[in-house]
Each structure stands twice: as C-alpha cells, then as structure tokens.
C-alpha cells in the first residue's frame, strides 16, 4: 500500500497511507466541529484536503485564481533577530528590512514594530517611534501599519500595578481577581488609544493588534474597546485584529463587550465582535495539537476557519505561523506543511488572506 510522507503536529516526519490520512482528517474535523460548535466539512472538502496532503511534490501552491492577500505580523524583527535557530539574523535597519520585504518578498501590507512588540513598552518611546513611522510611511508603497500586541500580562504584578488574577484565583479571591482584570483592561484600553492614535497621527495607514486575548477575556474586551475608539477617531484607519488562540480564555469569566460575555468564544463569534468594534481584517487562529498528525490538525483548523469566513462580513486572514492553523509547532515551520496548510486554508476554508 502506498505510503505518503507527512508530519505530526510537532514537525516529526511520519509516513501514512491515504486511508490513515483520511481517518485522521475525519477525526480532526469532528473535533473541530465539536469544539467550536460549527458544521462539519463536506465529503468533497475532506477529499480535497486528503488530495493536497498526499500530493507527491515537496511544496504545493494554489490554483490560478485562488491567490490570496498576504498580510504580516511581527514586523521587521523576524528578519533582523537571530535566536540561534530561527529568524534571519541580517543586520539591517528596520525600514531597510521593510523595503526588502515589500520589494523582494512581496507582502501586501507590512508593519513597523519594536523588539518588545507590546503596547505598554511603546509608551515611553512613542516620540522616536512616531519619527520612524513617518519615515517608513514615506518609503513604503504597500499599506504601512504599526503593530503591537495588547499583552495585558504586562499590567499585572510584578510588571504592572494590578494584582495577577490567576494568583488571586488560586487563593479563591475570585471577585478581587475580576476587579483587578477590569482595572487592568481599562488601563490597557487607554494605552491602546494613546499609542495607536499617536502612530496614526504620524502617518501610519493603520494598526495591527496581534496576539489579542493572550491574557484572556478581559484583554479581548480592552482591545475591542480600544479599536472602537480608534475607529471613531480615525475612520479611515486600516485595523487588523489577530487572535492569540482558538478560544478566548475565561480568566475573568463574566466580562462583556456590547452585552455579550466574551469568554469561550471561538473564531466564528470572535470575528463578529471585531467587526462590531471596527476592525477591517480578522486574524483567525486555531491551535495545533503537537501529539496529533498534520492531517488531524489541518482538517480541524479548516473546519473552524471555514465557518468563521462564512459568518464574517470582513476579510478573514488565517494565521499560518508556528503552531497554528495546522502548521506544526517547530521553530522553522516545515515548508511542506506550511504550503499544504496555506493551500487548504485558501481553497477549502476560503480565507481572504494569510
């Protein structure tokens, strides 16, 4: 029986028969449909996923006409930094990197970021960052955003003024934990408005909120409120919101946006709130399970993202980084899986961008 080279969620190479790949894809789809409470994929969708995984070529591409927009998060530092085994380690200035990526690699948008890549650390250096933003906006042709993670963890002790809700919860101080999360969220919203509007005034075409809700539901609400204000003050801003995980962690549990409890929401419901707040693009995330196969993970991701796209009035861009949307959890994500997952997202989940 023919065996195909594929991978596990941790990037290990394995061989599987077409039947095994089909079975795993079906199981992943069922898990995704149950987790996000969304419809299953059609038989044709599953067959298409299996065909793409079993393609003998090392890398695959979309068919003509299925090309999608390429947006970016993380900024120029992925090109400049060198962690020893990932990033490019090229010693260049930030704006030089941005030009290189625009003209040499062909992204459709790009963003300026700091190494900290979080809202809070930008506050004390907002002046120099605005100068850099002006320069970048003048030199780039593609939409040039400023990017940062809301990263509400920085507002809790020991980094911030508020007690850590997770620590308080362990001591059964539930109400106090919720109060601290709400107070931190208010501070984060103020900072989001300050930083994003400073960058818009310096010529940014928009703002990318990456890794949203990494600290849970209160962070999601804080970011939505910040986006809402940014949209009011800059109606033409190009706002993207990418998520941190497939469901919003219920650390607070009861905090609401526009009358809806946000804890536990999956992409198909997250996108509705992002749209309501004023985002232009939603970045969907589905977690990769490292103990399951690529087939299981990518079919699960396609199931969840497809329903999100169907329910969205704004473009949905699947986050195709390390350990999300079917891409294995490996420092340098393997190109065979990255291209297959991307093709599946474009042709089966019908995303607007990646």
């Amino acid at each position: 029986m023919t065996e195909y080279i594929t991978r596990m969620g941790d990037g290990r190479t394995v061989t599987m028969t077409r039947e095994q790949i089909y079975e795993d894809a079906m199981a992943g789809m069922a898990d995704g449909a149950d987790a996000a409470q969304v419809p299953s994929l059609s038989d044709e969708d599953i067959e298409q996923i299996v065909d793409i995984i079993c393609n003998k070529n090392r890398i695959v591409a979309v068919e003509r006409g299925h090309e999608v927009i390429l947006t970016e998060d993380g900024g120029p530092h992925k090109f400049m930094l060198d962690s020893g085994s990932c990033c490019n380690g090229v010693e260049m200035g930030r704006i030089d990197v941005m030009e290189t990526i625009e003209r040499g690699i062909g992204f459709d948008t790009f963003e300026l970021t700091t190494t900290d890549y979080s809202i809070k650390p930008v506050k004390p250096i907002v002046g120099p960052e605005m100068t850099a933003m002006q320069q970048a906006a003048m030199r780039l042709t593609v939409p040039c955003l400023y990017g940062a993670m809301p990263n509400m963890g920085l507002y809790y002790s020991p980094d911030g003024a508020h007690l850590n809700p997770a620590d308080l919860m362990r001591e059964f101080r539930i109400e106090e934990a919720q109060q601290n999360a709400e107070a931190a969220a208010e501070q984060l919203t103020r900072d989001i408005v300050y930083v994003s509007e400073s960058m818009m005034s310096a010529g940014a075409d928009g703002f990318n909120f990456d890794n949203t809700a990494s600290a849970g539901d209160a962070e999601f609400v804080a970011t939505l409120r910040g986006v809402e204000q940014l949209r009011k003050d800059y109606p033409g801003a190009y706002i993207t919101m990418g998520m941190a995980a497939e469901n919003v962690l219920g650390i607070h549990g009861e905090i609401e946006y526009d009358g809806q409890i946000v804890a536990g929401l999956y992409p198909n419901d997250q996108v509705k709130l992002c749209e309501k707040a004023g985002a232009n693009i939603f970045g969907a995330v589905v977690n990769t399970n490292t103990s399951r196969s690529f087939a299981w993970n990518v079919a699960r991701a396609a199931t969840i993202v497809k329903d999100c796209v169907k329910n969205s009035n704004i473009p949905v861009h699947a986050n195709m980084g390390m350990g999300v949307c079917g891409v294995p959890m490996l420092e340098t994500p393997p190109i065979d899986c990255v291209t297959r997952a991307s093709k599946i997202m474009a042709e089966v989940a019908c995303v607007d961008g990646i």
């Binding site: 020893g84 997770a166 362990r170 059964f172 962690l249 219920g250 549990g253 804890a263 490292t290």
Partner: protein
C-alpha cells in the same frame, strides 16, 4: 451498595460549579452512607470534567475555582471520616511550579497550578522568570513534582539545564519532572529526560495524578 445515583449527583454538582449545590450533594451522599473516600473520588471525576470543559471554552476560571471551593468544603464536611483514612486525607504530592528563567509568560503555568491544586496537590508556584536554582532548592526541600513552563524556543532549553543539575546533585530520582508550554512537545520532553509532557493543563494534571 453501588451509590450510582449519588456518584452522578456529585459529579453533576461539580460540573455545575455552585458551592451550595456541591455541599448539598456531599451531605446527601454522606447521609445515605456513601464512604468519604468514594465521595471524594466521585468529585474528582467531576473535577476532571470541569477541566476538560474549561479547555473547550465552555467553563471559565471562576467556575473551575468554584468547583474547587466546593471540593474544599467537602473536605471540611468529611474531615473526621477522612482523618481515619490517612491515605485519602493526605495530599497527592507537593509540586513546585514555575516559568523558567528568562521567560515572563505565566498564564498557562498559572492555570496548570490551579488545576493541580484543585486535584489535591500542594502547589508551590514560584511565578515566572524563576532562577533555576530555586527549582533545585524546592526539590531539595521536599517537593516531589517539579513543573517547568516555557513559551519561547529560546528559553525552553533551560528545562534541560535544570534536569542536568538535578542529576549532578543526585536528586533527579526523587522528583517527577513535568514540562509544558507552547513550544514544548512530547519529543522534546523525551529528549531532555523529563517524565511528563502536558499538551494542556488538564492533561498534565491527569498524568500527575496517575503517578501520585
């Protein structure tokens, strides 16, 4: 007696996450003659379900803590009977938990600490960016589980260094080493010689319970 009805009522009350309902179910089961150890086991099964529902986004952290508070109050109600059975009354083990040095991400580790605490472990959560020596000191001080978390590929290597130090100091065999965090995998766990890899907080807790 099988106490099937009581077992179901206890498990349902745990998943309901309301302390008064949990206390009522415990009192009813106790009045009906269900042994204290069986009551605690039924509640533990409910707590496992609570953990799964939290990961699915169907229950939230305050719910998990309410269920844990209900379990804590059950321990008070059943205290005298449990005291007679020292095995049931004692902790499952003492865990030192922390995010390794150089890494400031702690939300996943904190959730895991909470789940372990809810499962009956004594948890010493050292927080984040924890100096490696502090893990060693806690193990020397009596912790028989050591949970290390990392969210970055650049910091996960610290886990290996700590395990090597444990070996060098002759304490490796006294402790169950657990590793987790986004970039950590079963293969990495095996490679560095850790004992437990947790894909999620509830999986880690289940594996820790299995070794208790």
């Amino acid at each position: 007696m099988s106490y099937e009805a009581e077992r179901k009522e206890l498990s349902d009350a745990m998943v309901g996450c309301k302390v008064p309902a949990i206390q009522a179910a415990v009192n009813k089961a106790h009045d009906n003659g269900m042994p204290a150890t069986e009551i605690i086991n039924a509640m533990s099964a409910g707590m496992t379900e609570v953990g799964t529902l939290f990961e699915r986004g169907r229950l939230f952290l305050p719910h998990v803590l309410s269920a844990a508070a209900g379990m804590k109050s059950a321990m008070d109600i059943l205290g005298p009977e449990l005291a007679a059975n020292s095995e049931a009354a004692s902790s499952r083990g003492t865990v030192v938990m922390g995010t390794v040095e150089g890494d400031v991400h702690d939300i996943g580790k904190s959730i895991c600490s909470t789940m372990l605490q809810c499962a009956g472990f004594d948890v010493h959560d050292l927080g984040r960016d924890v100096p490696s020596q502090n893990f060693i000191d806690e193990v020397k001080g009596g912790c028989n589980y050591c949970g290390m978390s990392a969210l970055m590929t650049t910091t996960m290597v610290v886990m290996k260094d700590i395990i090597e130090t444990m070996k060098a100091e002759g304490i490796r065999d006294k402790v169950v080493v657990m590793v987790g965090g986004a970039p950590v995998t079963q293969a990495y766990c095996d490679k560095i010689g850790a004992d437990i890899y947790g894909e999620s907080a509830s999986e880690t807790t289940e594996k820790a319970k299995a070794r208790a």
